[in-house]
Symmetry: C2
Subunit: 363 residues, 2 copies
């Protein structure tokens, strides 16, 4: 999508065909900095330091990290070392493991001299595949926005989203925001209510930033506001992403998603969740019971990063010193509150039957 | 309640019997500063500058402001001037007008020389009456916590509250927090989940502070967390305050209250709202439709006050420059989601019938 009027992906090759470029997302929204990755170490640092984030983008960066490694030491030992180094950056990321296993299986049988070239080609393919999936999610979701526009008779279609499931979390388009970009690019009038998404404020620092850069009309709100807006007819459609989707259609997403789904249900507002089919966890049937919820550092609740009146970016404490705080990172929204799941194969009912109809290979 | 081990009210007389003392609440939680009010101008500044806040405390401060004025110019012109000056500090506060009308009606018929003495006496009475009401709310609410403790069989009773309806918003005890202080003081084990309450963070800066000072176990959470906690049996009881209560039992309270009530309803958690009966608006029967919702400065969403690593308190920006933001200050929770209303006369069902049974003078 666009930044300062120019189209970007979150990861791309420089003109030299070797250097990998990313956006340092830890600097957003206060600075837009493109970083050159020239080595395995650079790629590992970018993933571990969360300069890149979002499962699909982490996977693509890991794939390119293998290619960068093959530029240097393309021996078997070099291949193994690169695999281990990258795997250790974010040990729990499923896409990271998938991308690394894929690259290693491809490269290991080849003579060392052929590895770098093929590694770059496959990394590009992994990135393109993600763009393809997100673009399809966008097309299917665009249909929902189009129908909301037709039903409403006049614009804009008011959407509400939580956290950041935008292009910054993928290679391009995003998941929850893909339908919104597709609708906007097609000339359908849209307006997005952007939940701030405490404690890490991804709504303010990433979603508001990327919508603003692409020119999509939006309004930032604190997480408390969505219910009031829905009570008063100011939201036509909710779309969020999901970090983990149960086979039952329960969705585990950023903390607070469940509260918005409750408000949508109470007010008859459609609540959609966008996801790439490959991220469905077919082994889980009761998300509330069986998906473990990560608890993160309490400092994320009591401290924030901001820019002071002198333009200096820094951390600020916003609670009494020593206040005990708890930081649950995700919650689970039961399928009964989800109107539909927007996938690259179409929109499914949030149920085992709905999902299996779209993914018969899991039936 | 206690601060640094010592009992305080939010407003009191100094030993000289003339000087009025308050806590500058704008400095909390980063500093505890007691301010001497020695004149009408001091009292007006304290109200207008929000050093004191909460309807009952504003009323008591205005009453003492009249007494301070009578220390100076107790002529008819002085009385009228003081009334006008104080009325202009926060024009929409109902308690402000009520306290000023009460004081003026009492003082106007008296000879100028007798006004100051009676003004101090009546101001003290107004403060004491508020303490009495809040203490009764606390006693009635304590019963609910006691029963939750008996039902649970072991402690602590986990409570969730939103915003600040504590002693800092009243003269003492508070409304929503009064039952919690009463239960804690009676030795019932309690633990309070404190909603941060964006955008003004009253949960972090006031509720967490006052609970901490009094020694009540509590944990600060962002506003997104309550639903997850209730899904997992970690909340036994919710208690919030209300800024305006409809005759139907609909409650208008700090933005986000509605979302917590939805989560409580979805998970069978009792959701109580504490209020002084005199604040019920008997003219309103549909709160969602008829209570206008204040929209405040968008800067409250995009900027926050905090303390930096050098201990300097200041404002900082947390969104991309120029991000459009909306700031709805309150929402309305329909009576169907409210388990009961805790008043100074007892706990009422959240309905016209329930309220009229307790307040038959309005039947």
């Amino acid at each position: 999508m666009k930044v300062q009027g120019k189209p970007y992906r979150t990861i791309w090759l420089a003109d030299d065909g070797r250097t990998v470029r990313i956006i340092d997302q830890t600097k957003l929204p206060f600075a837009f900095e493109v970083v050159d990755l020239k080595s395995l170490a650079d790629a590992a640092r970018a993933i571990a330091g969360m300069w890149v984030r979002g499962a699909p983008l982490i996977g693509a960066t890991a794939a390119y990290g293998m290619a960068l490694a093959m530029n240097g030491d393309s021996s078997d030992a070099g291949l193994d070392g690169a695999y281990q180094t990258l795997m250790a950056t974010r040990p729990t990321a499923v896409n990271l493991r998938w991308a690394l296993d894929d690259m290693k299986a491809l490269l290991a049988p080849l003579p060392a001299g052929e590895r770098a070239g093929l590694a770059y080609a496959r990394a590009a393919e992994i990135a393109d595949e993600d763009v393809e999936i997100c673009s399809s999610i966008g097309e299917h979701g665009k249909g929902l926005i189009e129908r909301a526009f037709e039903k409403k008779g006049s614009g804009p279609v008011n959407l509400l989203t939580h956290c950041n499931a935008g292009w910054l979390a993928t290679v391009d388009w995003g998941t929850a925001l893909a339908p919104i970009y597709k609708a906007f690019d097609a000339g359908i009038p849209v307006h997005v209510w952007v939940d701030e998404t405490r404690p890490r404020n991804q709504g303010a620092s990433l979603t508001a930033w990327e919508l603003g850069q692409h020119g999509v009309p939006h309004t930032l709100i604190v997480d408390n506001v969505g219910g009031h807006l829905m009570q008063h007819g100011q939201v036509d459609l909710c779309i969020t992403g999901t970090d983990r989707t149960a086979a039952s259609g329960d969705v585990c997403n950023k903390i607070g998603t469940y509260l918005k789904a409750l408000a949508a249900h109470d007010n008859g507002v459609p609540f959609y969740v966008a996801l790439p089919g490959p991220t469905i966890d077919w082994t889980i049937t009761d998300g509330v019971r069986d998906i473990p919820i990560e608890q993160r550092d309490a400092g994320e609740v009591t401290r924030l990063t901001g820019v002071d009146e002198n333009g200096r970016v820094g951390a600020f404490s916003i609670a009494p010193a020593g206040t005990p705080a708890a930081n649950y990172a995700f919650d689970v929204t039961p399928a009964r509150l989800v109107t539909g799941l927007i996938t690259e194969r179409g929109v499914a009912e949030a149920s085992t039957e709905g999902l299996k109809a779209l993914y018969p290979e899991h039936a």
